[in-house]
């Protein structure tokens, strides 16, 4: 029995516990609602979180790359990146998987499983940074692109473009 096989065999219980641990990072009154298994459009946080965690468990049970982990983590991290979590709390749910793993698998797998979860954590950290950068970029450029762009097309304002600035530097 390999670790991957163990993860595969314990998929349902791992998902159930990991999902609950993740939802429990929200305030208790909210967790009661977000933890419900209802129509995904009535509870997007619950549905997207469950799907992301499920995708990650499937990846861990097969051959995976860090890119694939990041892609699977994106939906849940993208949500947590705009919620009231500190950077650490936004990705801490990944670490919960270590303890959960210990409750369902043989102790001989602990060390290997911990390393696996560390990889997921690093992928999660990468993704969190990417989402936060997306947010800062939107903050920095939104009004410029929506309003300034229209004025510029109309020739009512004129600003040097990036390439113009780079050109003047060269000359």
């Amino acid at each position: 029995m390999t670790l991957k096989q163990t993860i595969e065999d314990n998929h349902t219980i791992l998902l159930k516990k990991w999902f609950q641990a993740t939802i429990d990072t929200y305030p208790a009154q909210s967790a009661k609602i977000l933890g419900k298994d209802v129509d995904r459009f009535d509870n997007p946080v619950g549905a997207v979180t469950r799907e992301s965690l499920e995708d990650i468990l499937h990846l861990l049970a097969s051959d995976y790359t860090s890119d694939a982990l990041e892609k699977a983590l994106d939906p849940v991290i993208r949500i947590r990146a705009v919620q009231a979590f500190s950077a650490a709390d936004a990705v801490s749910f990944i670490l919960a998987l270590k303890n959960i793993g210990e409750t369902v698998m043989d102790s001989s797998f602990f060390r290997e499983f911990d390393r696996m979860v560390d990889q997921v954590l690093l992928a999660g950290f990468n993704r969190l940074m990417k989402c936060r950068e997306d947010i800062f970029l939107l903050k920095a450029t939104e009004s410029k692109r929506r309003i300034h762009a229209a004025f510029e097309r109309a020739g009512l304002v004129k600003e040097l473009k990036e390439e113009d600035l780079l050109g003047s530097k060269k000359s």
């Binding site: 208790a28 946080v45 993208r78 947010i135 309003i147 762009a149």
Partner: protein, 549 residues
């Protein structure tokens, strides 16, 4: 009945656990978090409007520079409004905290913050109401533990700060009211709360400065008349390049048939600018084919009304110029552009605020003879009703193939959908100018539509986290149709939506673009005397013309 809950199921729902703390105690630690709040109103904007307590202040600083008697001002403000607005009084009294609204709010669903459950957000104000204005509350506060028993709390500075924080995390979208068995309109509670905040100078700048601009210059962006005209003339040049037809509009034309007013976002902000070009093309078509005379105004150059997010009086002041200009120009009635809250103001408030507009006629479409009885008192018709009517009567020549690259879905903007019941007309227009239309899931459209997350004055840049969290429910539905049907365009009839949803798409569903419905109409409409078009209004190749580029 199949949907009846069995006793066992009901018992399963009961939580026997003890809450870890009293929710009202959390006011001790109200955290005003960057990314979730909007900057404070600039003193000069508050001053322009003659509103109280104009001064620089910062929500994250301890001292909000409130007047010494702020509690008295708010107490009297609440009292006055309880007497003046029967709805406010009923909504304060009647809620039974059933929780039907709890998981219906996009901000709760997106942020996971329990105080964004509409019931709990309203409770922030209700608890003060119960404490200061109800007999039971007054008795209970004298008994040890009575306040907690009655759910009362005094109006402390922390309570005020908490209310301010959360009532500016509500977009007044009214989705929760659809599910309330008592018909409580939580938006009205937010409206009242914001009106109360304005009594002590606690507005946000993304509302106060547009209101000030609109009051002084005529539109939210503060663009002066000549620039407004310049922008439209620039659109005319672009349209001429694309179609070969001159669509020069009338400005302030006395005796025109119709005065057209749209939100200034259509004139100054992408992608609304393409919708604006669609209007110009439509009006040129109607002029050429049927002799319809439409005029624009650089004075009434704003359809939106951020006064709505400030106070009833401010809303009235901004709205008045629509009627004033219609009267001055002697038009028959007013046609309004694609906008959201503008239509709630028009449909629910305009007539009682500034009406009756006896000098205008009940709107009749002179081309089809259709009488818009729904606008009999306001004298103002939504352009999608007008265009749908023209299409229904076969009055527009349309080439759908020009929008063949658009795989559409439609976002019902909260105010036209829930505020005036405009549900089918935009869909009818889309289906007549485009072949590929797919609805988002039923629990996310029409009366159940999810807000863009940026309405009611919250479309600022500094609260991006709040906006994106609030946008999650809409984005989840959009992503679904994008992945299932290949939807690449999100149609909408609101100027705030055109800006807000574009940003939503960039963060959540990057392959989807946002377009106004009249942008699609402008592409499809075959103008008399036009040249063979090879580009759409965004100056991108039309379907089938790609290789010519």
């Amino acid at each position: 009945m199949a949907d009846e809950i069995t006793p066992d199921e009901l018992l399963d729902k009961i939580d026997y656990g003890t809450p870890s703390g009293d929710w009202m105690d959390t006011t001790k630690s109200v955290q005003i978090r960057p990314g979730m709040y909007c900057y404070a109103a600039k003193a000069e904007s508050v001053e322009t409007l003659g509103l109280p307590n104009a001064r620089p202040w910062n929500p994250v600083e301890d001292d909000w520079k409130l007047p010494d008697d702020w509690q008295q001002i708010l107490h009297e403000g609440i009292k006055e409004r309880l007497e003046r607005f029967r709805t406010f009084k009923i909504f304060m009294d009647v809620c039974v905290r059933c929780g039907a609204c709890a998981d219906k709010c996009h901000f709760f669903l997106g942020t996971g913050d329990p105080k964004n459950m509409p019931v709990l957000r309203s409770e922030l104000l209700r608890s003060v109401y119960r404490n200061d204005f109800t007999t039971a509350g007054k008795i209970l506060q004298k008994i040890p533990g009575g306040q907690r028993l009655g759910g009362n709390r005094p109006l402390t500075l922390d309570a005020l700060k908490e209310m301010w924080y959360y009532f500016f995390q509500c977009t007044e979208c009214r989705r929760c009211s659809v599910f309330c068995p008592y018909g409580i309109d939580t938006a009205e509670i937010t409206i009242m709360a914001r009106e109360l905040f304005n009594l002590i100078g606690l507005n946000i700048d993304w509302i106060a400065t547009p209101v000030s601009n609109c009051y002084q210059t005529g539109n939210h962006l503060g663009i002066q008349p000549h620039a407004f005209k310049d922008m439209l003339e620039f659109f005319v040049e672009d349209i001429e390049d694309i179609t070969g037809v001159d669509c020069t509009p009338n400005f302030q034309k006395k005796g025109a048939d119709i005065l057209f007013i749209t939100p200034s976002g259509d004139v100054f902000a992408d992608p609304g600018t393409y919708t604006c070009q669609g209007y110009l093309i439509l009006f040129q078509y109607l002029k050429e084919k049927y002799g319809l005379d439409v005029t624009w105004s650089t004075y009434a150059s704003e359809g939106g009304n951020f006064g709505f997010f400030t106070s009833h009086e401010t809303m009235k002041r901004l709205n008045a110029k629509m009627y004033a200009e219609a009267k001055r120009l002697g038009v028959k009635w007013i046609l309004g552009g694609e906008c959201g809250h503008m239509w709630r103001v028009i449909h629910q408030y305009m007539d009682t605020m500034n009406g009756p507009a006896d000098f205008l006629e009940v709107p009749v479409n002179p081309i089809t003879g259709t009488r818009f009885d729904n606008a009999a008192s306001t004298k103002m018709v939504h352009i999608t009703e007008f265009t749908a009517d023209l299409i229904k009567h076969g009055k527009l020549e349309l080439d759908k193939s020009r929008n063949a690259n658009r795989i559409m879905t439609f976002h019902d903007s909260c105010n036209p959908a829930r505020g005036m019941g405009l549900l089918d007309e935009p869909r009818y227009v889309i289906n007549n100018v485009c072949d590929n239309f797919y609805e988002m899931p039923p629990n996310t459209i029409r009366e159940n539509t999810f807000c863009c997350g940026s309405g009611a004055g919250l479309n600022a840049g500094e609260n991006m986290e709040l906006r994106m969290a609030g946008a999650l429910p809409r984005a989840t539905a959009l992503k679904f149709v994008h992945e299932k049907f290949g939807v690449n365009t999100l149609g909408t009839i609101c100027a705030i939506d055109r800006a807000a949803l574009s940003t939503l798409c960039e963060y959540w569903v990057p392959d989807v673009e946002v377009a106004g419905i009249h942008e699609l109409v402008g592409n499809a409409l075959i103008l008399p005397g036009e040249k063979e078009r090879t580009e759409d209004l965004r100056m991108e190749p039309l379907p089938g013309c790609e290789e010519e580029e």
